[in-house]
Every structure is written in C-alpha cells, then in structure tokens.
Symmetry: C2
Subunit: 255 residues, 2 copies
C-alpha cells in the first residue's frame, strides 16, 4: 500500500518508529530472517525510550512482520507458509475441511485431544450455540478439544450437541480421537453439513493459553451446524485456528 494517507497532525512516536522499521523491512535493509538491532540499540539510534521502542516492535509483531524470541532477539519473519486445507464446495458428507485429516501424513504425529467438557451454563458462547441449534442451553452438552500437530497446538475446537449427558469415557480430558465421528456415534446419527462460516477474531485469554500464542493473535474461526440427513440440527462446532498456520481453500473448477 504505497499511499501515505493524511496523517493526524501528530502521529505517536512509536507508530512513526514502527513505520520506519517496516520500511526498512520492505526495503530489504533488514532482510527476512535477520535480527533487528536490540531494543537498547534502537532506543539509542532513534533517541527514544526503550518502552517506546517496545511499543513499536510489539505492533510489528502483532502484524506478523517480525518474530520476537525472548533472550535472543527480534527477527524479520519470512513469508508465511500456511497449510492449505481443501474444502470441496460440492461435498457435504465428509468433514473434508478438518484440520486433522487434511495435513500431510508426516505431520500427523499427534491428533485431537479432549480438553474439557464444561457444563453448558448460559455464557455468550453457549447462548450462541443454543440459538444455532434451535434449543435452550439446558438441552445441550459441550466438549472442548485441542488439535496438536508436530507437538504444537494448532486448533481449539468446541462442540455442542443437543443431548446428554455424554458418555464419561468420551469426554475424559486427554482422550484422543476424532470428535465429530465420535459424537455422531454417541448420538446414533449420521451427520452432514448444514452450513459453515468463516470469520476472524483475536484470541481470547483461554484460547491463547491453549494455543500458546499471545492473546489477541488473529485466529481463523470456522463454525457451523451439521444435521442429520432429514435436516435436524445435531451439532454446532466452532474451531479456532492460528491464522499464521492454516487457511481454507475452495476449488471451483473441476480438475
């Protein structure tokens, strides 16, 4: 974006500094992979307090321009490499979009693990799920899980189903498995897509903790309802995936 929009009369120092650093990254003065000058160095070079430097660098980190490694330094991020998960726009039977199933085999060292089966109170998320399923929160059960790949948590998932209680063995924290089919079996139904939606949110404190990212990190949200073949809503699922590690692709032309 080459424009210089009319700036407010006084742009804060830390933002101007962030821009100058970004310019150096764009210009190749700080090439991808290299270390930026340390905070005291930048502080001295630009004649500002170290906290001001930190504010500038923090913005660049949130914008995925640099990566901060504690005790080591701040490094220019190379272009993002993200797993592309293919979603067949015409299919509605199989969870082709699942993060778990779509990754190269050598990366599928781990899997999906139950984190908790929190009681469905009436929290904002529970209320949302109830609305999507056309039920009241009291009728729902919930399971949360984490999908790990290559030793790292990649996605956090929450599932709501309109029955319960769920078998204790199924929702035991730490239990491995693939929850969508497991839940379908528990319900004794066949599932197909009703709808799926894509959105983006900043990670809340809980998701950030589970994913090992700073709160506020951009997450890709994929949510939706699956139903039985006769159209009865049977599952609401909400997955949060670190935006820097995956994307969903829809191919529209036949191969």
């Amino acid at each position: 974006m080459a424009t210089n929009p009319p700036n407010p009369p006084s742009t804060p120092v830390y933002r101007r500094l962030a821009r100058r650093l970004q310019e150096r990254v764009d210009a190749g003065t700080y090439p991808a992979g290299t270390r930026l000058p340390s905070e005291p160095e930048l502080s001295a070079e630009f004649g500002v307090n170290r906290l001001t430097v930190r504010q500038a660098v923090a913005e660049l980190e949130r914008a995925a321009v640099v990566e901060i490694r504690r005790g080591v330094g701040t490094f220019v991020r190379p272009p993002a490499v993200r797993v592309s998960i293919a979603v067949d726009p015409r299919s509605q039977r199989i969870d082709l979009g699942s993060v778990y199933g779509a990754l190269p085999n050598e990366e599928r060292t781990d899997g999906e693990f139950v984190v908790a089966a929190p009681p469905v109170t009436g929290s904002a998320q529970d209320a949302e799920a109830a609305r999507r399923l056309g039920r009241t929160p009291a009728e729902l059960s919930r399971v949360d899980s984490v999908i790990r790949l290559g030793g790292r948590a990649r996605a956090v998932c929450s599932y709501w189903v309109p029955f319960g209680p769920l078998p204790a063995a199924l929702v035991r924290p730490g239990r491995p498995g693939n929850l969508v089919p497991d839940l379908a079996r528990a319900a004794g139904v066949e599932l197909e897509y009703d709808w799926r939606a894509f959105g983006a949110v900043g990670a809340d404190l809980a998701d950030a903790e589970l994913l090992g990212v700073p709160p506020g990190t951009a997450l890709l949200v994929r949510e939706g309802v699956s139903c039985t073949p006769d159209g009865a809503p049977a599952l609401y699922v909400r997955r949060r995936i670190d935006g820097s590690s995956a994307r969903f692709v829809l191919h529209f032309r036949d191969r």
Copy 2:
C-alpha cells in the same frame, strides 16, 4: 473454556489482572455495555501501576472483550453482530461473496473506491500474486481499493491482473465503482472463480490505517484467483475485512 491450564510458575501481574477482569465480565459483574472502572480506579483497587492496568485492558481489547473509547471509558462489548455474507458453494460465475453486493440495501450508502495503483515491484505480496497467476511481477498491474459502508471503511482490497498499463481513469484514486467487473471489462474477458481461500492475519500498519483499526486487529482474508472460461488465470484478488464486522457463510443444503 472452564479449564485452568497449569500456569507457568509466575504469570505476569497484567495477565492475572486481565483474567480477573474477564472473570468479572463472564460472571456479569460487569454486564455488556457497562463501563469498567477507570484506569486509576483499577490501579488503586488492585494495587498496581496504571501502566500494568493498561496492559491488562489492552489484551482484553485485542480479544474483543472490551471496547476502549478515548476520553470516555472502557466498555464491555456486547456479543458481536457481524454481517453474514452468503457464498453459494455451487456457483462460480458471480461474485456473490463480495462484501459490497451482499449487504442490506439501507447500508449500501457508500461503495468501493480506488485508493491507489501502486507499481508492482517485487514485494512479498507482489511476488505472491505473481506466483498465483503464473507470471512474473513485471507482467502485472495492481489496484488497491477500500470498501466503505455506513461511512466506515469495512474492507481493503488489492487486485492484480496480468496486463497493463491500466486505463488511467480506472485507477484514479477516489474513483468509485465495482472493481471486479471493471477490471474484467478492461481486460475484455469474462471472469469466473478458479479458487478462493479464507485466512486470518493481524492488520499491518497500512491496512490498519485504511480501516481505522489498531494494527494487529484480526482481519479475515479472502483471496483467490479468477480465470477466463477457458481456464486462464486473469485476476488475483486479496480482500481484508475487519473480523468483527463480517463473516462468510456457505450453505450446503438446498432451501
């Protein structure tokens, strides 16, 4: 997420404070829409420096838990209301997913406006576009635009096409229009979807400026290639939409 994952031995004060504030929001101690205690008040109540309070509140803002209004106060966000943009998974002719076309008429007060037609150098984004189109950056032209609705910028779009130069009238900054059809006309071709992908990123400095949001805000990215009916890639488009204002929905069942 009701679990309390095993915390590192010492969680920073600001994070613990953020959690306590979030608990109050969840518990309804601070209901949606109400104002939190001011920073000096929180500072006094918890016996920490105001800057530490600010760090905690800033995290909650990035997580979309609260909204900070300068000179006024910090308010608990009500559940997000996001525009749902329907994408017909089976259609590939019309840009049904366009933010511009999918909104209720009363909100379509503005439209899409050209921001700039930056030269295609070899920046990371230009290189990405060239790769997607199977060309070299030198063969491409680029246009950036902003989509405004209700007086607010909602989306930033960048388009790359494998020809040029583009008509000056088309890329004049400030020019209104709907760029996909305009570009198709300029190219003298018919366009259909090849593929589209969804991702999430933190806003960079330029996008943040254009959208009027803080850098790092979670943006939903929708990108893809459109091609001519015979399959030749003719357009690479990358849209960034404020995650708090829109989402894309795919319906899989016939209505």
